[in-house]
Amino acid sequence: MAEQSTLLSVKDLEIAFQTPAGPAKAVNKISFDIKQGEIFALVGESGCGKSSAAHTVMRLINSINAPGHRTGGSVCFKDKDLLQLSNDEMCGIRGKEISMIFQNPLDSLNPLYKAGYQVYEAIVLDKTPKIEAWQKVESLFRDVRISDPEQRIYAYPQELSGGMRQRVMIGMMLSRNPQLLIADEPTTALDVTIQAQILDLIKSLRDTMGMAVWVITHDFGIVAEIADRVGVMYAGVLVEEGDVFEIFDHPKHPYTRMLLESLPQGSKNDKRLQTIPGILPNPTIDIRGCRFEERCPFKFDKCEMEVPPMQRMKPGHYVACHLTSDRNGDSAL
């Protein structure tokens, strides 16, 4: 794919939530870009802040679902800083320019309205005439490969399977031709065969409609299947970023390497599955050095003292680790 211009540029994004134990930093100064038409995957274990980052970009974190939260940094989408827009301006962005699908399709649709109506509701926001809008709903249902679209548009969400509901969500969120689709763990709640179908659908829709996709997942299997570029997140920080082949073939950060080693390898490998000992650090406690230090088998003095900066390894491959920056020729790498 030819070099394309940047669509979304996240700079030093910070998010802190109010908790009884004090402010918890869910996301701690992460920066990355998403280019037009690419599929960027943000990978990390549960609770690392990847989902919070996506919700913040969509400005879906508000005083109702997270009272007392704070955000910092900037999220530039086509020269507009989304974090500075008014609520009204943001309404013009959501669905139209950036849209989002969620982890659990089972409760992502309103149970009181027919599936088709909920898609229709999005389409008519663009002043589309009624009949045309309904025709578009039907053709969208066909595009997301829902069988019997003529009938299914009149079905209530609870009459549809999980995979079907996620297809409705995808159709709804692509109905206004956004340039970026954020998919927050789009297949986590679905069974494996449906997972593959949904990923395949997202990929083929990207190819026909040309929107960029930002996938959030904890599963490297999904990354391998769909992503062009990968960012690896750990405890609110981005630790490695690069082309998908580069990350799989030459992972540099110990966390990335351990994550990849913990993937099941299929029948050719009958070793015990590798795990990463330890848990995520407490987000309410400030950490002076590297956040992975506690769990890292290669740690040395500096890791505890200093935050490793993000450094370029190769064009397009960045790592934040003292091992790669200061200990040239270290045997561990």
Partner: protein
Amino acid sequence: MNDFAGYAARRFVQGIFIVLAVTAILFSIMHMMPGDPIQLIDSTRLDAEAVAKLRHKWGLDKPAVVQYLYWLGNLLRGEMGHSITNGQSVSVLLASRLPFTLQITLLALLLQYLIAVPLGLLAGYYQGSFFDKTVVVITSVLRAIPYFWLGIILIIFFSVYLRLLPVSGYRGWSSLIMPVLTLTLPALADTLRLTRSEVLEVLREKHVITAIAKGLRQKLVVLRHVLRNALVPVTVMFFLSVPWLIGGSVITETIFSWPGMGRLLWKAISAQDFPVVQGIVLIISMLTVVSTTIGDILTGILDPRIRAELGGKKL
């Protein structure tokens, strides 16, 4: 949808049996009470023979079961009997009193929901704000107020102190204000709290985030996806609260000497006037059954999940 129509029909038939059961139970309770209406009229001036004659005339000498069946048989012919105390036809008596009761109860119900639903929505949406906290405190106070106390306080304030409203009886529209307020205020608190907690619950549902994410403006999200969903249980409560309101009207009508069915019931019970009590209880149980049935059917219409369940269709 056909399954659901079947459900509605079943509910209707059930309702008839419930009304029958209620009247039968009431009949037995009335007959288990010591004494009878003849004794209460003027037993001192009547000799035993006259009493026996009167008892025979009103059918009181027959077994309770036979009396009940007579009453049912007459009812099927549209005849509800006559008041023992003054001989008036029960149906005529009820027809003259029922409109007064319906007037204040329906007005109170309407007023209650017109105030409670918007305030509950706002309080829930702005949870934790000064407005919300004020509403919560006021409703806690309101729900602790008994009807009879509120009625008396209103009379003291508006009639005795300010001399603005008539103390009691029916003298045009101004007489409606205090009885309606007495019925509205205590019930208002529950409806408001219910709306508020439903709104809070729906606001936390994931589909609200979907509605925002697809680009709907805040107002549409709140009206179409929050209020609409929150209104399902609130609507059911509207119909389920009808019996409570009628119960409240017995006390309220007595305080304000309102010429409605509630006060008539109170008087009839004191005089052990069986036919009148039976007639009123029949009306009340019918109103109750009809309104709860409407409430249940309406939930099915408002919520497709319940409709599917009630229709017996497995999801």
